[in-house]
């Protein structure tokens, strides 16, 4: 490892402090890189409201929980208007950290809480290092939380422009959006490579103007939790007699599309007689709009009226360790997102547990599901389409078994690390033996050489 190139991962948050897809996959990649024998370092941002006790007077960078190679970047002055860090000490000590670590590759995951200005600094401090950015969302393009959903009418936005963005934010003039774009592009100009987790993301950034030759598609790293159940699996029912149990995993916010599921279930109750269940796992309802919160609470309050045809259970938040249990209770995973879902880790989770996904035909999720082969697509935002898909799921004989058998699972993290190394332009060291215990429910692992984890975009 001493001879290995040094790779510094700079991530928005640490997944053990704040849950989220970007930090989860960044951390998995870091762990995988270490496992592969790379000299990897993980620097995760942290904000005072998340863990005030971790902020030490005068410190900008600290270790994290006594772990070697893991650090926190204590970001107390991130400014959301221009995505800058406005604490000069944060800038100077970040630069000093880079000088101290001397990484050969700096791989940023996101710029929220870190700062676009840190990109510029990284380039200046490390003129010869390879700088890489994973595009976890569209915040570079879209000020509306990077969702590219029009704020005035909630329609999907195809393209940002100063006037269109001004329509979403009437208090901000078109010129200021041009300035924003210039600033973001400037900061992003320092990168040698961009990694898009799906081709959909690559295409969208390509049309935004990122150079084709710098854009690569590499899937997100994700460990296979289907073999990591630390609980004693007594009497676990892994499959129902009729595959009529649906599960939703994710944040309870508008864009995740749970409202469409509620509408579809209400329609279902009026149309069909085949019983189904819905398990909801998720949290962060407080980040949803008031309208959605009201809809969520009133739907659950009235859910009893749909029984016995439809039984709805809200299980609350979950961690990765809970996944085996939660997944054992369901047959299908619904991903009903009504925004341009970039990647959706929940889709990977569905595949790793061989739970065929039922997915909006949009964005990265639509791209990742092969309709009628390893999952089912329905028209985004269309409750009728989803209702009909529910019915098909519970009535078409052999459908579930066929789709589950075709589930691609998740690529081994080492393969994903290797694909990243190709982008970094560094050799993949000889990996240590990887322990991947097999489980009866999982398909046999293919030899690494034959797997197609990812490849740079052509």
């Amino acid at each position: 490892m001493a001879d290995s190139p040094r790779i510094l991962f700079v991530s928005v948050f640490h997944p053990e402090l704040v849950r989220g897809g970007a930090q989860q996959t960044a951390y998995e990649l870091f762990l995988g890189a270490r496992k592969a024998g790379l000299d990897a370092i993980f620097l995760a941002s942290c904000e005072p409201n998340i863990a005030p006790a971790l902020f030490k007077p005068g410190a900008i960078v600290t270790g994290f929980d006594g772990r070697p190679n893991e650090y926190l970047f204590l970001s107390d002055s991130f400014e959301h208007g221009w995505y800058r860090n406005v604490n000069i000490r944060a800038l100077t000590w970040f630069a000093e950290f880079l000088r101290d670590m001397k990484p050969d590759v700096v791989h940023f995951h996101h710029f929220m809480t870190i700062g676009l200005d840190m990109f510029l600094l990284a380039r200046r401090v490390l003129p010869d290092a390879k700088l890489v950015l994973t595009l976890h969302e569209f915040l570079a393009i879209c000020k509306a939380d990077g969702h590219m959903v029009r704020r005035n009418d909630r329609t999907l936005c195809q393209k940002a422009s100063p006037v269109r963005c001004h329509q979403c934010f009437p208090d901000i003039s078109p010129e200021m959006f041009q300035l924003r774009e210039d600033w973001v592009r400037h900061a992003m100009s320092v990168f040698d490579a961009f990694i898009a987790p799906t081709d959909f993301v690559r295409r969208r950034y390509l049309s935004w103007g990122l150079p084709d030759e710098k854009l690569h598609v590499v899937t997100n790293a994700q460990a296979d939790y289907s073999h990591q159940d630390f609980r004693v699996p007594f009497l676990r029912q892994t499959q129902s007699h009729v595959p009529n149990r649906f599960g939703f995993f994710g944040q309870l916010v508008d864009n995740k599309g749970l409202g469409v599921v509620f509408d579809a279930l209400e329609l279902y109750a009026k149309t069909y007689t085949d019983p189904i269940t819905l398990d909801i796992s998720g949290a962060n309802l407080n980040y949803a709009s008031e309208k959605f919160r009201e809809r969520f609470n009133s739907f659950l309050a009235e859910a009893k009226s749909l029984e016995p045809l439809i039984k709805i259970t809200y299980h609350g938040s979950y961690s990765m360790a809970d996944l085996p249990t939660r997944m054992s209770r369901i047959d299908w995973v619904i991903v009903p997102s009504v925004w341009w879902e970039i990647f959706a880790l929940v889709l990977s989770e569905a595949y790793m547990f061989r739970r065929p996904p039922v997915v909006s035909n949009i964005g990265g999720v639509g791209e990742r599901v092969r309709h009628d082969i390893d999952g089912l697509l329905f028209d985004v935002g269309d409750a009728t389409s989803l209702m009909q898909t529910f019915h098909r799921c519970v009535t078409e004989e052999g459908l579930h078994a066929r789709l589950a058998a075709a589930s691609p699972g998740v690529p081994p993290v080492l393969d994903v690390v290797e694909a990243h190394c190709a982008v970094y332009g560094v050799p993949m060291p000889g990996a240590e033996p990887v322990e991947e215990p097999s489980a009866p429910s999982a398909a046999p692992a293919a030899p690494r050489a034959k797997r197609k984890a990812a490849a740079p975009a052509s």
Binding site: R84, I88, D117, E175, L179, D182, W183, H186, S189
Partner: protein, 588 residues
């Protein structure tokens, strides 16, 4: 915190399609932001209250448990006034709201006030009309007559709404029914010296007075007068209104509202700028300025200017070598543009040889600008100076301060919302400044964000209508091909004037001309004035399309009510200064 809970107050039925609703927000109601709600089916269809800190009424509704988007109607509470009247009426194109002294505002696109409404009227808001009892609908609009003097037998009514003073000046505002004989001025006699001064009165439209007097046609029954002399001098003077027929009536002053000198000046400009008149506002303003108010504003501005000073001077990233170009940028209102201007230059390469000098006309932004200068200096390796002035000293003075601090012999005056279009634009600026610029001044070709032309030189155009109305040549400054597609020649060419948004010249020339003329108030027209002085000194004004820059016009600074008045003053001042010379030049 607002909520949708109905407040206590007398219920009043309101049906706007039958008749308008009029109410008087008393002074205590205004100061305490007491609200007036109009309900329909238990929901607040319209919520009205005054925000003293903002100087505006806020309008909103509360439907389905949510407040809607706030709407503001600027409305200054005149010091000394007993309140502000509000009229809510239904017109052909929907409901309108009107507050005393400001034009009516259409509510059609925001509020549904059709059908039967119920207003809850708190005790300190009066449904108008002297006979209106609690719970009874007001029928006639009311105006507050603070002081009324009736000339015996003449039937003249008048009211004085405001007496505002500063340490060295005063302002009176009121109304008068002078249909018998027009008011022509105010006479002021100093008790101590016996000196008599005649002050011109400005006239304004007062819809509330029109309504009160029940006149068939709108008139200018409002008047205002301003003059030098503070509260003490006002106390020691006798004021009389003088009419065209030679008669007069003593004017009794009520409670005086005291302001600081700067605050008073801004108040006077704001009042001047947004007063309502019958006829052409510019022509009326020019007449008022000619009548003596131009000189008054000039004197007051100079008195304020005497207090100007640099509060702090920060230097960041200073290089040993003097820079090749000093870019001088005046900031007002928005701090973001310091960092963003430098970032925009840094997009196109190293900032070596460039010095950015920011002169801050907003003292309250001092700390954030120093912070951002330090950040920008570190991130972009930029050489930066930040000078913070103790007041908004205007565009001219701030630039003069900036140029005085410049380390280079070449000066680029640049607005905070002007950015290089591409690397060539920065390169061209460097190239231009590599050689002597002589007695000439260079301007850039500026573009809107959409790529259309914002500026490629300016010319002077006589405003025929205004010239006729003012009986003097009134010139306006026009931009060539503003908003047009970018199709004109790339060759540098002489033009009558260029915008101050981007000017490049020798520092020595700037100093020789004493920089921008500080007699222009705040901003506007000083750039054309400088160009004319360059030409007068034998230089040329050159538009160089190689200096291709974006100009996000109007984004770089805040607009305040006093700027409307200062713009009128500057236009008048410019016409006075240059009108005849431009006319002579145009006539050959």
């Amino acid at each position: 915190m607002l909520d949708g809970t109905p407040e206590e107050g007398d219920p009043v039925e309101v049906k706007l399609d039958a008749e308008p609703f009029v109410a008087m927000f008393t002074e205590p109601a205004l100061r305490s932001s007491t609200h007036l709600n109009f309900y329909r089916d238990g929901q607040i269809a319209l919520h009205v209250k005054y925000i003293p800190m903002r100087g505006a009424f806020v309008l909103n509704d509360f439907q389905q448990g949510h407040w809607g988007e706030q709407m503001f109607v600027d409305c200054l509470l005149t010091p000394g006034a007993a309140g502000l009247s509000m009229t809510l009426a239904l017109h052909e194109d929907g409901p309108q709201i009107r507050f005393m002294g400001v034009p009516p505002v259409s509510l059609a696109e925001r509020f549904d006030l059709s059908g039967a409404l119920m207003a809850r009227v708190p005790p300190n808001i009066r449904p108008n009309g002297p006979e209106a009892a609690p719970g009874e609908r007001a029928r006639t609009p009311d105006i507050q007559v603070v002081r009324m003097t009736t000339l015996e037998g003449s039937g003249i009514q008048l009211g004085l709404d405001a007496t505002v003073t500063s340490g060295n000046a005063f302002f009176l505002e009121g109304w008068i029914d002078d249909r018998r004989s027009p008011l022509v001025g105010i006479s002021m006699v100093d008790f101590a010296t016996g000196l008599r001064a005649s002050l011109p009165v400005g006239r304004v439209r007062r819809p509330d007075v029109d309504s009160h007097l029940q006149v068939a046609r709108p008139g200018q029954f409002g008047f205002w007068v301003a003059g030098l002399g503070g509260a003490q001098q006002l106390e020691a003077a006798a004021l009389s209104l003088v009419f065209e027929d030679g008669s007069g009536v003593p004017l009794e002053l009520g409670a005086k509202f005291r302001q600081g000198e700067r605050e008073f000046f801004e108040f006077l400009l704001a009042t001047f700028g947004r007063r309502s008149v019958i006829g052409n506002i510019t022509a009326q303003s020019f007449a008022d300025l000619e009548a003596g108010y131009g000189n008054l504003l000039s004197k007051l501005y100079r008195q304020i200017a005497a207090e100007r000073r640099v509060m702090s001077h920060g230097r960041f990233g200073r290089r040993a070598q003097p820079p090749a170009i000093s870019l001088v940028c005046v900031l007002y209102g928005y701090p973001d543009f310091l960092y963003m201007l430098i970032a925009q230059f840094a997009r196109f390469g190293s900032l070596d040889g460039l010095e950015f000098i920011f002169v801050n006309n907003s003292p309250e932004l001092e700390e954030v600008l120093l912070r951002d200068a330090e950040l920008a200096s570190f991130v972009f390796r930029a050489e930066i100076q930040v000078l913070t002035l103790n007041q908004n000293s205007g565009f001219s003075h701030a630039n003069n301060v900036g140029v005085a601090a410049a380390r280079s012999k070449k000066i680029a005056i640049i607005n905070p919302d002007v950015f290089p279009r591409d690397p060539a634009a920065v390169g061209h600026l460097r190239l231009l400044c590599d050689r002597p610029l002589g007695p000439d001044i260079y301007g850039g070709k500026l573009y809107y964000a959409d790529g259309s032309v914002m500026h490629e030189g300016m010319f002077f155009k006589q405003d025929r209508r205004l010239s006729l109305l003012c009986n003097a040549p009134i010139w306006t400054v026009e931009h060539f091909r503003k908003g047009f597609a970018d199709t004109s020649s790339l060759e540098p060419r002489e033009v009558p004037a260029i915008t101050g948004a981007l000017m490049v010249l020798e520092r020595s020339l700037y100093e020789k001309l004493n920089g921008f003329n500080v007699d222009f108030v705040f901003g506007h027209y000083e750039d054309a004035d400088l160009c004319l002085r360059v030409q007068q000194a034998g230089g040329r004004v050159i538009l160089d399309p190689g200096l291709a820059y974006w100009h996000y016009e109007g984004m770089g600074s805040t607009k305040r009510p006093e700027h409307i008045g200062s713009n009128m003053y500057n236009r008048w001042f410019f016409s006075r200064l240059w009108g005849h010379r431009i006319t002579e030049h145009e006539n050959g």
